[in-house]
Subunit: 150 residues, 2 copies
């Protein structure tokens, strides 16, 4: 297909977050675009947040750049730097290793949709400043901050 | 800034295309997002096409993946596979080395805006099937198809 047939790509709300951190992203629905389209140099997902849903737990990556663009609806970006309302056409870039956790919360009454792009997994940790969680770089496993398993 | 301050990034219609191939992209205005935001793993631009403008000459990359998402307005995707109207929320992926040239033409009466993401330059050629042009991988110079300079 010249245009990506989004209806042919599974929309899922799966998460590897251990309980209770999974509940916040139950209304995050995403389609992984790269495996479905043959892209291998970077990852990309089209994400739909239901009202109240979080895009993720607040996090930052040691080794991966991230970029998002809002396509439809609104969400609030939450960082140490503050809260920012994102509307269609707004773009946010998170260069790797900037130690300011981020996530989006849909505080509106309607779904929002955005594209997010990220580097290929770099084998470096992902940090979750608000909760007892770290994603181990080499294994991508979720661990307690003392690096014991859940 | 948590959100990218687009007004602080130069919007340009510069092109390295030799004449007369530059004329088709005179109404293509873009902001390069990666250098302005510190991203280094991939490139990204926010592009605005005026009515009649082309996103590029029709091309395909030997060594670079590309992905775009329409944010506002409409454009027609042109490939060997056919013509496809793109509207907000539509996504197109072009895996590297698929030898089907692509570009977008804004055939509407209003500007359109889209995000496009691409791999870091891979040092491999970019091919232009419709015209006497090739972008040399190692140098990124535009050459005649017989590889003589313009």
């Amino acid at each position: 297909m010249p245009k990506v047939d989004l209806s042919a790509i599974e929309e899922t709300n799966r998460t590897g977050y251990p309980s209770p951190y999974d509940a916040d992203v139950a209304g995050r629905w995403y389609r992984r675009l790269a495996p479905a389209t043959g892209l291998t140099d970077f990852g990309a997902s089209l994400v739909r947040l239901e009202p109240g849903a979080w895009s993720s737990q607040r996090h930052w990556h040691e080794g991966e750049d991230e970029l998002m663009a809002m396509i439809e609806g609104e969400a609030v970006l939450v960082e140490d730097r503050g809260r920012t309302l994102l509307k269609p056409g707004d773009v946010v870039a998170w260069p790797k290793s900037v130690a300011d956790g981020h996530h989006l919360i849909n505080e509106s009454a309607a779904d929002c949709r955005f594209l997010v792009v990220g580097s290929k997994p770099a084998g470096q940790d992902c940090h979750y400043p608000d909760i007892d969680l770290i994603a181990d770089g080499p294994t991508d496993d979720y661990l307690h901050k003392d690096r014991t398993p859940y």
